[in-house]
């Protein structure tokens, strides 16, 4: 594993230029050997470029992990009068911002890679589908495209090779489902962003029914480095099935929030404790959600797992686009599952029943459980509904929507059981199941809590232990936060 070739945990390939060059200066990009990969690719045949990308082992960074070279090969083999190459810059996962960072920090690497991809598959038009909420990324990308045109690096007869290629931008309104490639293509055609069944895959019949390759921003950002440094160099980093690096956006209960780029095969422990600095305030690490709302939670038991596409899937999660949300002992896994489901429920396009209605029903069951009204039978229903939706939804959104539930039920089954059997939330998050009491041994009778209680259910005389009337308490926690003597017990 290449991770051992360096004592530094991170290797920056896709983000190699972010923070080091002025993203608005084409000269800055040329200074770091920008557009040399394009020049080199144009001296090869398209099939040779495809073979090189195949040999590198690069897989799609947008979620699915499909081998990029193989995908390009399919489009190359499909003859057509027009083909398209599309950059997926929709980035809808909550907590993910790596594509934005690449576009804002190094837009030319994406422009250059799209031209290389266009040449490899025989496309003369490239489109960046980018969400309108990314104004700075859009601004820098537009400038990059204009400057590249002015230097003749886009347009007609690039590097005198006879290859013509240009890039246009299309703006998305920021719906999560529009990141799914068939929905994205529909949206580009001016229709509702609803997925359609595959096959045919876009590489066979995509934008205006022409062969279309959709690739993620980070996938593209790797391409120039692969062309310049060679397939062998890239394939030398990572694991047997997953080559190169992955950019993750570390978020949640982690000391060092931010972007990291690590070699595939690094362990979660290294990422969370050595790079991320662990959970803040000395709290214990509990779980990490990878793969965004479509992924699953990995627990402390998985800390020594080497991260790659297969190992994450084996643990009911996935690589996804790289959001990593860390949770500590104060997080309730049922509430976390409910949080992600709330997101997918809002974002379902509504085309198919299991996803549209199933998400609502899943949410209702989770809501019932977090309110202390769940029963063991609900857990059985929850699980079977999850499995049904997975099997019957049309697109990836519906098919993966149950993942956070299934993975948390799997690893934190005891927490679900505590909610439905003991009516307790072990992490003390689900308000309905909490009780607040006062420890008479610790209470000094300072009366502070009585002043903050909004329903005046705390009584007692000065300098004497106080008591809470549980029948009136609305569990707001104000007293708990206020007491200086730790005498209020939250259970």
């Amino acid at each position: 594993m290449a991770a051992t070739t360096t004592e530094k945990k991170q290797i920056r390939i896709a983000t190699r230029n972010c923070g080091f060059i002025d993203p608005e200066s084409l000269d800055d990009y040329i200074a770091v050997r920008g557009y040399e990969a394009l020049a080199k690719a144009l001296t090869m045949t398209p099939a040779e470029v495809v073979e090189l990308v195949k040999a590198s082992g690069l897989r799609g960074r947008g979620g699915g992990g499909f081998p990029t070279g193989v995908k390009w090969g399919i489009a190359l083999a499909n003859a057509a009068d027009q083909k398209y190459i599309v950059c997926n810059a929709d980035e809808g996962d909550p907590g993910a911002f790596m594509d934005r960072a690449v576009l804002e920090g190094d837009p030319h690497s994406v422009v250059e890679a799209m031209a290389i991809g266009g040449y490899a598959i025989g496309a003369t038009i490239g489109t960046v589908y980018i969400r309108a909420e990314y104004p700075l990324a859009i601004k820098r990308l537009r400038k990059a495209i204009e400057d590249a045109r002015a230097y003749g690096l886009l347009g007609k007869n690039i590097f005198g090779s006879g290859f013509d290629f240009d890039i246009e931008l299309k703006y998305g309104a920021g719906a999560f489902v529009c990141g799914e490639e068939t929905a994205l293509i529909k949206s580009m055609e001016g229709q509702r962003g609803e997925p359609v069944t595959k096959p045919p895959f876009p590489a066979q019949s995509g934008y205006w029914q022409k062969p279309t390759i959709v690739n993620n921003v980070e996938t593209f950002a790797n391409i120039p480095a692969i062309i310049v440094n060679g397939a062998g160099w890239f394939a030398g980093i990572g694991t047997a099935t997953s080559k190169g690096t992955k950019v993750f956006a570390l978020a949640g209960k982690i000391q060092n929030v931010g972007l990291i780029e690590v070699p595939m095969g690094i362990t979660l422990r290294e990422v969370i404790f050595e790079i991320g600095g662990g959970c803040p305030d000395g709290k214990a690490f509990k779980a990490v959600q990878t793969g965004g709302p479509s992924g699953g939670a990995l627990s402390y038991k998985d800390l020594d797992v080497a991260i790659d596409y297969e190992s994450l899937i084996a643990r009911k999660s996935m690589m996804g686009s790289g959001g990593m949300v860390v949770m500590d002992e104060d997080d309730c896994m049922v509430s976390i599952a409910k949080f992600f489901l709330d997101f997918t429920m809002d974002e379902t396009c509504g085309k198919c029943t299991p996803c549209r209605i199933g998400s609502k029903r899943l949410y209702e069951i989770l809501d019932k459980i977090t309110k202390g009204k769940g029963t063991p039978a609900d857990l059985v229903r929850l699980k079977s509904l999850c499995e049904n939706i997975k099997d019957t939804a049309l697109c990836g959104l519906g098919q993966t929507m149950p993942n956070p539930i299934l993975s948390t039920m799997d690893t934190f089954g005891n927490e679900y059981a505590a909610h439905v059997k003991d009516k307790k939330c072990p992490a003390h998050v689900c308000t309905a199941m909490l009780t607040y009491t006062i420890d008479p041994a610790k209470c000094t009778g300072c009366t502070l809590c009585t002043k903050v209680c909004p329903v005046e259910c705390i009584s007692g005389t000065k300098k004497q232990p106080h008591t809470i009337d549980a029948t009136k308490c609305i569990k707001c926690g104000a007293c708990y936060d206020k007491c200086k003597f730790d005498s209020i017990i939250k259970q």
Partner: protein, 126 residues
Amino acid sequence: MSTIKTLDELKAKRQEILARKAAGNGKTVINVSLATCSIAAGGKAALEAMQDEVAKNGLSGVEFMQSGCMTYCYAEPTVEITLPGKAPVVFGGVDETRARELVTEYVMKGEPVEGIIPVNYERVVL
């Protein structure tokens, strides 16, 4: 702007750009991260404070640069300073006070200033 038609022309252009940059050696380069999150955290204010401090002290030989994400969300705003002949150093949490201090202490006297973020990655340079 003249167009670039061959790999050799691209390489010549690169040499020309590198030579131009090398001629600027001996200058201090102050690189401010201005990605969306850094701007939101006050990156522009840090830049302006440093520009003002440089002007106030009549410093020549200081060049400002704006780049994208330096990947340290938790320490935004971040600023990288390269003193002539020295390795670049990234400072985090650069509020206006620290921004001015960076100019008067680190740039002018080479004195250490708090908030240095150690390099924790290896970067692929093509």
